[in-house]
């Protein structure tokens, strides 16, 4: 069955939910890609998102993989356009209008109001993901370790993800 129309529908919808970052759309992405369309499993979604943190560029490029699995190379391209198109058009239009809005008093209100909501969405996405990613002492230890190191030192996050892969191998390899 041709999945491309469904891919375009789902990812253009997810696109407009990414207020404050890609993670804001994660709870909805889980419902639509895993539960509704069954393009992949929840552990696979978590794995792809996490591996994506090691890739350069925008940190949601893992969506390409969902498109690829569901609809081949065309699916991958469709997902990219659907996910980045709507917000790109919006950003473009706002860029044009922004100068005129400079003295609009609500501009600051919108920015200040959306800040706590977007951080809340990020945290909600984090909890959704933690339900699948944190089980037991080792994984909790890795998450807390990464958090503390990042708050304390200036380390490249991609390196910490890589180091955690090594810790994962050491902890979870069957002896």
């Amino acid at each position: 069955m041709n999945q491309i129309p469904a891919l375009v529908r789902v990812f253009s919808y997810l696109s407009i939910l990414t207020v404050g970052g890609g993670m804001a759309a994660f709870p909805e992405m889980k419902i639509l890609t895993v539960e509704v369309h069954k393009w992949l499993t929840f552990p696979q979604l978590i794995h792809l998102y996490s591996v994506g943190q090691m890739a350069p560029g925008p940190n949601m490029m893992m969506i390409v993989v969902i498109g690829q699995w569901a609809g081949g190379i065309l699916g991958a391209i469709a997902v990219l356009i659907a996910f980045f198109g709507p917000t790109a058009v919006l950003a473009f239009l706002v860029a044009r209008a922004w100068k005129k809005l400079e003295n609009w008093p609500w501009r600051t209100s919108i920015q200040q109001g959306l800040a706590p909501v977007s951080i809340g969405l990020l945290l909600a996405g984090c909890f959704t993901m933690a339900k699948g990613a944190i089980f037991g002492v080792e994984t909790a230890g890795i998450a807390v370790g990464v958090l503390l190191i990042l708050l304390q030192y200036k380390v490249n996050p991609a390196l910490l993800v890589l180091a955690s892969a090594v810790v994962g191998v050491l902890s979870f390899m069957p002896k």
Binding site: G57, P58, S109, G113, G120, A133, I134, L151, G168, V169
Partner: protein, 202 residues
């Protein structure tokens, strides 16, 4: 990369002159480089490239564009590509920037997808992925903490944040409804006031 670091600071007006001469191809290429090298977060790479190395925008513009990017839906990286591209060369500049920044990571993840599909159930790969997924949770938490420090002011902002989390994770209202409901509430709370008496507000 380092050869530009020793250059003297630009004279006023030089930034504008440089920006006027930028071609679509140069925009694409610069964002392609950022897209291929920005491991662990795009923003510092954007600044290093666009402000320091190329001087296409100045620091004030960069901060302004970043704050626009953050309050719009969309990822910071792609919104910045669109905003900077638009400033330099209009529609075609935006498209060039967007394509450039997405292409390397997209191709890499495409390859990862194929590899994972065939070898994802290998014992040592599943073990490594468990570590990687746990690290990603820590990473997001660290982002939450640093963003909260930077952009939350007053205890009500924490209330709005908590309401958002509860609405999505506990009440399962879904992201769109939560975004609209709590968003409007928070924007109204931060509504423009004549005398800016923030502390007296209820």
């Amino acid at each position: 990369m380092t050869d530009t670091a020793s250059k003297p600071a630009v004279q006023p007006g030089k930034t504008a002159a440089k920006a006027a001469a930028v071609s679509i191809w140069q925009i694409f290429l610069e964002f392609l480089i950022i897209g291929a090298t920005s491991f662990g977060g795009v923003v510092p790479y954007l600044r290093g490239s666009l402000v320091t190395k190329r001087q296409w925008i100045d620091d004030k513009e960069f901060v302004e564009m970043l704050s626009i990017s953050q309050s719009l839906p969309g990822l910071n990286a792609t919104n910045m590509a669109v905003l900077v591209g638009e400033k330099l060369r209009g529609v075609m500049g935006s498209i060039a920037g967007l394509l450039g920044i997405c292409l390397p990571g997209g191709l890499l993840m495409f390859a990862v997808g194929i590899f994972y599909h065939h070898h994802g159930d290998h014992v040592w790969i599943t073990a490594a992925l468990k570590g990687v997924a746990a690290a990603a949770v820590g990473l997001i938490l660290a982002t939450v903490v640093s963003l909260s420090k930077k952009s939350l002011s007053g205890k009500f902002d924490f209330v709005f944040m908590a309401m958002t989390v509860i609405a999505v994770n506990r009440l399962h209202l879904g992201v769109p409804r939560t975004l609209v409901a709590v968003g409007i509430l928070a924007i109204l709370f931060h509504r423009p006031r004549k005398h800016q008496k923030e502390s007296a507000a209820q």
